[in-house]
Amino acid sequence: MPEVFVLALPKGRILKEVLPVLRKAGIEPEAEFADENSRALRFRTNRPDLEIIRVRSFDVATFVAFGAAQLGVAGNDVLLEFDYPEIYAPVDLNIGHCRLSVAEPAELSASDDPSRWSHIRVATKYPNVTRAHFAARGVQAECIKLSGAMELAPTLGLCRRIVDLVSSGATLRANNLVEIEKIAEVTSRLIVNRTAMKTFPREIGGLVEDLRRAAA
């Protein structure tokens, strides 16, 4: 029985950066994949043993953790947030560079003294990372889970601090926020389902090596 493996890719920004890496590894998605208006969710590739799905970045990790996709591309921000024991992250693809940071309004930053904090409220897509980050220095972070437009939270008084991805910092500046602390450097990783890696060591191992070379 020929196995068909599924590679989960995140929609949006990263997708454009992943495609050249795939191409270098000899993986060419079917033409429809490039069409952003396509409603299809599953795509064939030039390799009969590999299919691609396009899902939200957080869902890439979930699909791979549960073995619905054997491979995926996810930022280590997502991996930190979920911490799925079933996911391996063997290759740093060296794309999607940004950082996960704490930001707050510029005027607050001028007078703020973080050493006095015992409890803060933070709007974020990353409640687990945020809580762990602040707990490590003895601060209880109450997280307000948002799915996007984090920068609005301080401006509209939802809470004063946010934890979000920052790449150029332009969005922060536009909303009069300043980055006060970096939690982690973020790059996209090739992720692999643990069971798939162990039970198809040659096939999955081969794909991982192809992509490792392409990313180098």
Partner: protein, 388 residues
């Protein structure tokens, strides 16, 4: 019909009372029967290898349950107060430490190596991310008082054979050496060591390169070696290891050779960086996997029991098996209408039929047979298929 007076409390909706706590579930036919049959067959497989069954209690005093190898299960264990002795008891979260305790205490005079098997339910305070059940059926063996590759190979080959006999598809074994990374990193402060071990576990090459310092070459070598034994073992043998690590590696090589000889077609991989779930293991360990199977069938490995004896064993978890293996079709059941001759049922059962006795007279026996999920109905003294 009159409406109920308002002073009376309304009966709550019944369905709500059926809710079970998170991670607990009812086993129903036919799965519950299938699970029990699976346990029987596994225990029979173990018995054929010379393993004899023990039956530890559900509850033990905390001090004994969580001593020795049980210590690692402390965070997973439910506690309750014993009203009789006023001492704290724990509800077992894993049977391995219990069997270790039995071997070290009541069976201490039995000749070694001692081969014991067990089957039972365990309870955990929290489900895992990928396995939300808090009650799990556990089946396994312990081989106590034996060191070396021959013992490691026996305990690895036994579940493979048993799983194959059960019909589990494409069993694969990942051999692990959870002690190797801690040995290599022995000179680091605990925090740095833990961080690197976690990064190795996730195969996070980027983080390992960044943090490993002078251990970088060895650790990246370990990561590169992960894979099929045929490539992993030579890669591992080429690495420079501390003396304690060399001993682990030599035992690994010897075990792999024995396993390969006995099971040439088994999918066998080595991952010397895997740490997960090997809380109390002290030597060679392994994970039992299946192609396309979520989670794992079980895991096993070497540890030191309460009396300081070398021991190894494995546990299979029934939830994975149950989710993987197809539940066999219901056996042929024959409906015996009310009032049939007294001895007919007994005769049929002796012939291997499952009989379902009618308890009152019915107009249409064939319809009644169908209603009660019977494949056959007794007509003219013989079972006749209800369809056809």
């Amino acid at each position: 019909m009159t409406s109920a007076p308002s002073s009376k409390v309304a009966t709550p909706p019944v369905a709500e009372n059926f809710l079970l706590p998170a991670g607990l579930a009812d086993g129903l036919p036919p799965e519950a029967g299938f699970e029990a049959a699976m346990v029987e067959r596994l225990m029979a497989s173990f018995a054929r290898w010379g393993y004899e069954r023990v039956k530890p209690p559900l509850l033990e005093f905390e001090d004994s349950l969580l001593a020795g190898p049980g210590e690692a299960m402390a965070a997973h264990t439910f506690r309750l107060m014993d009203p009789v002795s006023q001492r704290m008891m724990g509800l077992r979260a894993d049977m391995t430490p219990q069997v270790g305790r039995i071997a070290a205490s009541r069976l201490r005079k039995m000749p070694r190596p001692l081969r014991l098997s067990y089957a039972g339910q365990v309870l955990r305070v929290k489900g895992e991310q990928m396995r939300l059940q808090r009650q799990l059926g556990q089946v396994g063996v312990e081989l106590i008082g034996a060191e070396g590759a021959a013992a490691d190979a026996e305990v690895l080959l036994l579940p493979v054979e048993a799983l194959r006999e059960l019909g589990a598809p494409d069993v694969a074994v990942d051999i692990n050496v959870p002690r190797l990374a801690p040995i290599i990193l022995a000179d680091l402060p605990p925090e740095a060591r833990m961080e690197l071990i976690a990064a190795l576990d996730r195969k996070d090459t980027a983080r390992v390169s960044e943090r490993a310092g002078r251990h970088k070459e060895t650790l990246l070598g370990l990561l590169r070696s992960v894979g099929p034994v045929e490539t992993a073992l030579p890669a591992l043998l080429a690495l420079k290891l501390p003396a304690a690590g060399e001993i682990e590696r030599a035992n690994l090589a010897e075990t792999v050779a024995l396993v390969r000889k006995a099971a040439p077609d088994l999918t066998l991989t080595i991952d010397a960086t895997d740490q997960r779930g090997f809380e109390y293991h002290s030597g060679l360990a392994f994970t039992l996997l299946g192609r396309g199977v979520r989670g794992e069938f079980g895991r096993g490995g070497r540890y030191v029991n309460h009396a300081g004896e070398a021991a190894t064993g494995f546990s299979l978890y029934l939830d994975t098996l149950l989710a993987t293996l197809p539940v066999p079709a219901r056996p042929k059941r024959v409906f015996v209408p009310f009032g049939a001759a007294a001895d007919i049922g007994m005769t049929l059962r002796r012939e291997g039929w499952v009989t379902v006795q009618g308890l009152s007279a019915v107009a249409d026996a064939r319809l009644e047979a169908k209603r009660l999920l019977c494949s056959h109905v007794l007509e003219g003294g013989r079972p006749v298929a209800v369809d056809g």
